[in-house]
Amino acid sequence: MSAASACLALFERDVMAVTRSRSQLYSTMLTPLLFLVFLGTGVSRGLEPSSLPAGNYTAYLVAGVVVMTAVFSSTFSSASYYRDRDSGLLRMLLSSPLGARWLLLGKSLAGVTIGVSQAVVVLAVAAPFVDFEWQYGVVRGLAISFAAILLLNVMLGGVAQAVATRITSMQGFHLVMNLVLFPLLFFSGAFFPVANLPTWLEVLAYLNPLSYAVDAMEVATYADSSEGFIGLGIDFAVLGVLAAAVYALGLSRVPRLSWSGK
C-alpha cells in the first residue's frame, strides 16, 4: 500500500512538473496544431488532394497531428529521467525503500497521463473546425479515439522509458527518439493515406506501429466507412499487444547508480 502511495506521489510530482513548465505544456500541443493549420490549409487549397477517402485534407490530418502530439509528449516526459538524474533527485529516490520498478511505474504513468491529456486536447481543439464524418457517432467515435490515444501513449511511454534507461546522455536520448519516432510518423498515414503508396512504402507502413493508431482514429472520426483502412479490429489488436509488450520492456530495466552518473 505504501509502495502504491509512493508511486502516486511520484505520479503527482511529475504531472505537476509538466503543468508548471508552461513552455513544455503548450509547445507539445502547439506544434502539431500549427501543422494542422498551415499544412492542412496549404495542401487542401494548394494541391486539392483527390485521392483521400472522404476528401478534406485538413480533417484527414487531425489524426496525424494527434499522434504527433503523443510522440512529442512521450519524448518530453521521458526527458524527466535525465532532469531528475542531473538535479540529483533520482539519487534520493534510489535511496528510498521504494523499489525502482515502482519508481518507473509512477513516472511512466505520469508520462502516459500527460500524453493522453495533450493528445485529447489537440483532438478537442481541432474537431470543431473540421468536417468529420463520425461514422459511429460522435460519442463512440470519441471513445474509440480515446482508446487508441491511450494505447498509443502507453506504447510510446514504454519506448521512451526503454530508451531512457539504456542511454546515458540526454542528447543521445533525443537523437535516438528523433531517429526512430519521427521517421515513423512520415509513413504512418499521419500526413497521407497509405493505401495508394508504392508497395515498399506500404509494407513499411504496415510494419509501423503508429499506422494502427492513425488508422483507428481516422476510422472513428474522419472516414465515412472503413473501406480503404486497416480496420478497428486489427488496429486495436496490434496496439494492445504492442502497448503491453513495449511497456513491460520499459519497466524491465531499472535505473541504477551507474546510470545516474557515478
Binding site: 509512493a6 531528475d84 533520482l90 539519487r91 523499489g99
Partner: protein, 315 residues
C-alpha cells in the same frame, strides 16, 4: 561477533570494491558504534562516498561483510537510513515543502504524517518562512539545510552525511550543525564522511582515518590526538631530504615530522624554539610556516604518513 541492538550500528569487515581497475575500497574494516557522531575522515577519492553508498544499501560490496543496524543492506533497510549526499538531491523547480512531502511519501509515510513532520523540520532548520519558495530561490546553505531536513524526515535510526557542509559558508555551517545536533536524542547514529578535520574534531564522538580505501586508524578524537605535541607546525618546504627531517625530529620538544605533497608537518612542544632552528637548517627552501594548536588534522597527518611513501618521493 553478532550485531545486536546494542552492537555496532555499522560493521564492515574486509570490504573490497572496485570500479574497473581502481579499488575504491581495499580491505575496509570498521565498527561504527550506536548513537553519537562517527566520522570517516580522508581525502577525496579515499573511499568515503563508496562506503556511504553501501551503507545506504544502494550498492553491494563485491567482497567482504557489511551489516547495517544488524541487517545485511537491502532495500528494506533504507527505511531506517537517511542520507545527505555530497551533492544536493533536489528538484530545483519544486518548492521546499513539496520536496519534503515527496521524500516522506517515497519513504513510506502517509500524506498527513509527511506534511506535519516536514513542517516541524522546516522550522527546526530555519526554513519555515521559505517553505513555499522554489528550491532554486534558496541559497546554497539553505539547500543543504533542506537536504538535512529531508534526510531526517522519516526519523531514521542511522543518518549518513556525505560531506554535508562542502561549499557552505561558516555561518551557515554553524546553523546547520546547530539544527542537526539540537534534534532530541533518540539514539540515532550519525555517520559523517568529511575531509574537513576541524569540523570532525568539533562534532564527532569517534572517527576513522581513511586512506586508499582502508581504515588506517580509529578512535575518539582525544585518543587519536594523544601523544601529539602541543603545537602544530606546517611548513611549505621545497625538497626536504630524509636526513634533514630526521635531524629536525631529533630536536628536543619535537614530535613526529612527516612530509606529504610538499608540506612538512610537525607537532612540537614549543614552535617559537623549533621554527628558527628549522630556518637555520633549510634556509631559503622554506616557503611558508603556519603554527596552530595541535588538532585532529595533525593526528591525521601523523597516521597517514606512517603509510605514506618516503619523504623525498613526495616532497
Amino acid at each position: 561477533m553478532s550485531t545486536t541492538a546494542t552492537g555496532p550500528a555499522v560493521q564492515a569487515e574486509s570490504i573490497i570494491h572496485a570500479y574497473g581497475e581502481r579499488r575504491a575500497l581495499d580491505g575496509f574494516t570498521v565498527d561504527v558504534p550506536r548513537r553519537g557522531v562517527f566520522g570517516l575522515l580522508g581525502p577525496n577519492g579515499s573511499g568515503k562516498s563508496t562506503f556511504i553508498t553501501m551503507v545506504a544499501a544502494m550498492e553491494q560490496p563485491q567482497t567482504g561483510k557489511l551489516k547495517v543496524l544488524g541487517e545485511v543492506p537491502a532495500a528494506g533497510l533504507r527505511a531506517r537510513v537517511g542520507t545527505v549526499f555530497q551533492e544536493n538531491a533536489q528538484d530545483p523547480n519544486m518548492r521546499a515543502a513539496e520536496q519534503l512531502l515527496l521524500a516522506g511519501r517515497v519513504f513510506g509515510m502517509g500524506r498527513e504524517q509527511a506534511r506535519s513532520r516536514a513542517e516541524a523540520l522546516l522550522g527546526q532548520f530555519g526554513l519555515g518562512a521559505r517553505a513555499n519558495d522554489p528550491i532554486s530561490a534558496l541559497s546554497g546553505g539553505m539547500r543543504r539545510r533542506l537536504e538535512m531536513a529531508r534526510a531526517l524526515l522519516h526519523d531514521p535510526d542511522l543518518l549518513l552525511l556525505d560531506e554535508p557542509t562542502t561549499g557552505v559558508d561558516p555561518g551557515e555551517r554553524q546553523a546547520l550543525w546547530a539544527a542537526l545536533l539540537d534534534t532530541p536524542d533518540r539514539g540515532r547514529t550519525i555517520l559523517l564522511a568529511t575531509n574537513d578535520l576541524a569540523e570532525a574534531d568539533r562534532v564527532c564522538d569517534a572517527v576513522a582515518f581513511i586512506r586508499d580505501g582502508r581504515v588506517i586508524a580509529s578512535g575518539t578524537p582525544a585518543e587519536l590526538k594523544r601523544g601529539l605535541r602541543r603545537e602544530a607546525v606546517r611548513v611549505g618546504w621545497e625538497g626536504p631530504s630524509a636526513e634533514q627531517l630526521a635531524q629536525a625530529a631529533a630536536w628536543p620538544g619535537a614530535g613526529d615530522i612527516t612530509a606529504l605533497e610538499g608540506i612538512v608537518h610537525a607537532t612540537v612542544d614549543d614552535a617559537a624554539a623549533f621554527v628558527p632552528r628549522l630556518f637555520a637548517l633549510a634556509g631559503s627552501a622554506i616557503r611558508s610556516v603556519t603554527i596552530e594548536r595541535a588538532s585532529l588534522e595533525d593526528a591525521y597527518f601523523q597516521y597517514v604518513n606512517q603509510r605514506a611513501p618516503a619523504p623525498e618521493a613526495v616532497a
